[in-house]
């Protein structure tokens, strides 16, 4: 094997170790982060091939038959979604071809590696984001149901509001200050806040480190309408629905980790890591409710009025 081939094999081998969900998320991040098609096609082909092999046999014969009978007879060189009105798409771009030789390949591989790092940070413990199979409109309808619940007793024994005070300004700058949990279980200390801006989303991510456990809080703001929020890996433990301030968190188990996820059609909140159910619910309960924020404002206003 030649030296470049050997090097290429080494570069790609890192992807073999990633989970299917991570590979899918990587391709998704690359696609949305590369308007104009700057990504390295060899790498995309490699990842796609890896996924295709993991997904098991497709049925190209049946697809070919469908192609010949349902699609090909109507092929006129325009995409099904090109409506001949020249609006916001460029049909001519559809057949634009990349050069076979890509001198910037190494840089692009590095770029994918950076995305892989972002992915790892975003989805700690091998979990990738997703509100699996949930229709946005249904989800919004479902989440409008109000519920009432007392705060878990465990929430009184944690770190308290110091958790996110240091992040208040940057979170406020991206409109997420009222969405972030203000409590963490005893023994956990927060890491750095990481804000990642992509074409269609802004995400804020913080890892919390305990003595022998970690968990993370990630909030993704989808700045454009999407029905594609990713996929969570889970085991066969039933999904638990947990209501907090009228919003339903879905608590998913995956072997030794728990993920709580909620999506209101615009913001997706994910709490993921080695936490007990009681702890993860207490973390959820520490997200300020609109009523609590209102009460807080009233309390803050009162002395001023008296003064």
């Amino acid at each position: 094997m030649s030296a470049p081939e050997e090097k290429k094999k080494r570069e790609y081998s890192r992807y073999d170790q990633m989970s299917t969900a991570e590979l899918e998320q990587l391709l998704r991040l690359d696609f949305y982060g590369s308007e104009g098609g700057a990504a390295d096609l060899d790498t995309i082909l490699y990842l796609s091939d890896l996924l295709a092999r993991r997904n098991g046999p497709s049925d190209p014969e049946a697809a070919w038959e469908q192609f010949q009978t349902k699609y090909r007879p109507y092929a006129h060189g325009r995409s099904l979604y090109d409506f001949e009105d020249g609006e916001d798409v460029s049909p001519a771009k559809a057949e634009q071809v990349p050069p076979a030789v890509r001198p910037r390949r190494t840089r692009r591989l590095r770029r994918l590696a950076v995305l892989a790092a972002v992915l790892a940070a975003l989805f700690l413990c091998g979990m990738a984001a997703q509100a699996g199979g949930m229709d946005i409109l249904d989800a919004i309808a479902q989440w409008t149901d109000e519920t009432f619940r007392f705060t878990s007793a465990a929430s009184g024994s944690g770190t308290g509001q110091e958790n996110t005070v240091q992040y208040q300004a940057p979170l406020q700058a991206v409109g997420m200050d009222s969405l972030f949990p203000t409590w963490s279980p005893d023994g956990f200390t927060p890491g750095e806040l990481k804000i990642t801006e992509l074409n269609d989303s802004v995400s804020a991510h913080v890892n919390f480190f305990g003595e022998d456990r970690t968990y993370s809080v990630t909030i993704v703001h989808f700045t454009q309408p999407t029905d594609n929020t990713g996929t969570f890996e889970k085991d066969d433990t039933p999904v638990e629905e947990y209501d907090h301030s009228g919003q339903t968190f879905y608590i998913l188990s995956n072997i030794d980790t728990l993920t709580a996820a909620a999506f209101d059609g615009e913001f997706m909140t994910m709490i993921c890591g080695s936490l007990t159910r009681e702890e993860i619910k207490a973390v959820i309960d520490s997200i300020p409710s609109p009523q609590a924020l209102q009460n807080q404002e009233q309390v803050q206003d009162s002395p001023a009025e008296q003064g």
């Binding site: 590979l23 899918e24 998320q25 391709l27 998704r28 696609f31 308007e35 098609g37 096609l41 995309i44 082909l45 990842l47 796609s48 091939d49 996924l51 295709a52 997904n55 046999p57 497709s58 190209p60 014969e61 697809a63 070919w64 469908q66 192609f67 349902k70 699609y71 090909r72 007879p73 109507y74 092929a75 006129h76 060189g77 995409s79 099904l80 979604y81 090109d82 409506f83 001949e84 009105d85 609006e87 916001d88 798409v89 049909p91 771009k93 559809a94 057949e95 634009q96 071809v97 990349p98 076979a100 229709d135 409109l137 454009q224 309408p225 029905d227 594609n228 929020t229 990713g230 996929t231």
Partner: protein, 154 residues
Amino acid sequence: MTILYQEMYGRMVAYASSVLGSRNLAEEAVQDTFCIFCTKAETALRHENPQGWLMRTLQNVMRNMQRRRAAMNRLIMQSLQVEDLEELLVYDQEDVDLLYGDLAARADFQLLKRVVLDGCTMLEAAEECGISVEACKKRIQRIRTYLKKKLSDF
């Protein structure tokens, strides 16, 4: 062409599924890509990297698909907010289904909703209505052009 299709189909569906989050839409994007390939076959097959050609074309097809679906989603939402929706959904062009104009408009609107809000592929929506994929595309094109004009008049 057949060999290339068999070789690439699985990979392209895997890639498109990752990006679009829907196996059905992914399959349609791949079929759509091969439709474009057919019309450019001479150039594409002679290309030094036909697999790369297909993947790049698939990327562009997916971008078009997403932009269009997002734009149609906005159009539907805007339409649903109009108070006189019934009035809006009546074709008044003389050359369109003169006798059944209002019914045709409503049926097309339902078709548009199936594709955009319910996430159906063009093929699924076409088969539900017992029409061809091309007819489905034409009907969607017709209703969206009509709605855009009507909404701009409101």
